[in-house]
Point group: C2
Chain length 256, copies 2
């Protein structure tokens, strides 16, 4: 059963962090043990889970550089079964510092080996690019979950992402599979939303999760309180949809 | 009078491309001659103006590598006074190819010297990062316009962006000034939107444009027709707000 899932899409603002935080929390409320690795120097997933980025140590930078084993970089959250390896802007330096070292793309993969047995799921939040940090996540991962905003520009980027995943499978991680495409910020009042959904389901069929995440202002409010949606407003459509997503992910796992 | 404006924010999905395309078009309808340089490998600004990225040549990659002068890479748009230097995924290779060459951050600045006298404004759309491509844009620019989505995570990233701008001013482009912060995707029904606006205006005062861009579905639809908002739906709140922004930008220029 694959354990490490990268949450990736180079298009910005499509809901990567919102999905990483809330899917991790939903799995944790379903009694799964979950680790969320924040691999974005913006550190949004860290603050979205209430971590104080200015003081939290060690971070994913220390883990990537091999200074600290992953299991020594776990930070607790309000959910018993959810831990996080936080990020801050130190991560920006990692690419330059590792530029000349061999096997720089497999750093995270190696660092997470001891963590695999401790957790049911390890989710990795990626920055909006296909560079060094994202390549580390895709090389460490068993599968990749692609959040896709129901907008035109987001659709445009899917081809490039699929090409990159093919290259990663060829050269760095032949076992990498696609966990699925998750449609986010769906607005039923908006014709464009429906058009994007129809086009993605036509092209990618069963690879697209049944569950869609609706546009829900509560999902935007929760991070300002440092809490996942289940702890901020469990009755919201945002919370319900991420709980559905967790169920769908778990039932797909049993089936495969 | 500064002529080159970089549109930058490392946070993804905040409206950089939507602002670059529609501010450029609004200035062009005000009879200003405008060049939009697409410096994002996603090439969203290019397709947002109807350019076929799979075939358009030369591109911003050719200009950055010095293979083609900027004035030989102009592509016409539906607006007489608006030209674009398009982008495609070739741009991803530029950073690696220029890795060991001196003065790699001033490539765009040098390439745009002959273009300065041909246009009233040159806008540069940046990718969601503070890496090589964005540094080229910030080094070439006279000023930087920062689109800021009315959301919590977008607010978090502002400190990092301000720090980076300080470094660019110290080391690469002492003349760089802040054109202003533009609040985008403002939703008056949403308490979080109002909170973010109040916080940004309190912190940054007169640096924040009076004009705010409302959330308007027509802005999301226009790119799927390859047209700026003025040509897609000139009566929409999206079109009105970008026309206001162009007026405000021009009147600020006269005042300074
Ligand atoms: N379903 C939703 N409904 C409403 N708001 C949402 C939803 N999903 C995400 N958001 C908000 O939209 C913004 C973008 O989402 P998020 O930051 O998760 O995207 P991202 O892909 O991680 O961005 P980046 O590319 O910068 O990493 C955030 O402010 C978030 O709170
Ligand atoms: N004011 C607005 N109202 C509604 N939708 C908008 C608005 N501004 C932008 N959008 C839509 O939101 C999405 C994000 O905007 P856009 O792509 O311009 O952001 P960006 O900062 O350029 O993203 P990236 O970080 O990927 O370059 C796009 O699908 C766009 O069509
Ligand atoms: Mg994110
Ligand atoms: Mg963009």
């Amino acid at each position: 059963m694959p354990r490490i899932i990268a949450i990736s899409n180079q298009k910005g603002g499509v809901g990567k962090t919102t999905t990483a935080v809330n899917l991790a929390a939903a799995l944790a409320t379903a009694e799964k043990t979950v680790l969320l690795v924040d691999l974005d120097p913006q550190g949004n997933a860290s603050s979205g889970l209430g971590i104080d980025k200015s003081s939290a140590r060690p971070t994913s930078y220390d883990v990537l550089m091999g200074a600290v084993p992953a299991l020594d970089a776990l930070h607790a959250t309000e959910l018993k079964h959810l831990h996080v390896v936080p990020a801050n802007t130190d991560l920006i330096g990692a690419e330059v510092e590792l530029a000349s070292s061999d096997g720089r793309e497999v750093r995270l993969r190696q660092a997470l080996v001891p963590a695999r047995d401790r957790f049911d799921f390890i989710l990795v939040d990626c920055p909006p690019s296909l560079g060094f940090l994202t390549l580390n996540a895709l090389t460490a991962a068993d599968s990749v979950l692609i959040p896709l905003q129901c907008e035109y520009y987001a659709l445009e980027g899917l081809g490039e992402l699929t090409r990159t995943l093919g290259l990663v499978q060829q050269r760095l991680n032949p076992a990498l599979v696609r966990e699925g495409i998750l449609l986010t910020m769906f607005d039923p009042r908006n014709r464009l939303s429906h058009q994007v959904v129809a086009e993605v389901r036509r092209h990618f069929g069963a690879e697209v999760f049944e569950t869609m995440i609706p546009r829900n202002v509560r999902l935007g409010e929760a991070p300002s309180y440092g809490r996942p949606i289940m702890l901020y407003d469990v009755r919201s459509s945002g919370a319900t949809s991420y709980l559905h997503l967790a169920k769908e992910l778990l039932s797909r796992r049993r089936a495969s």
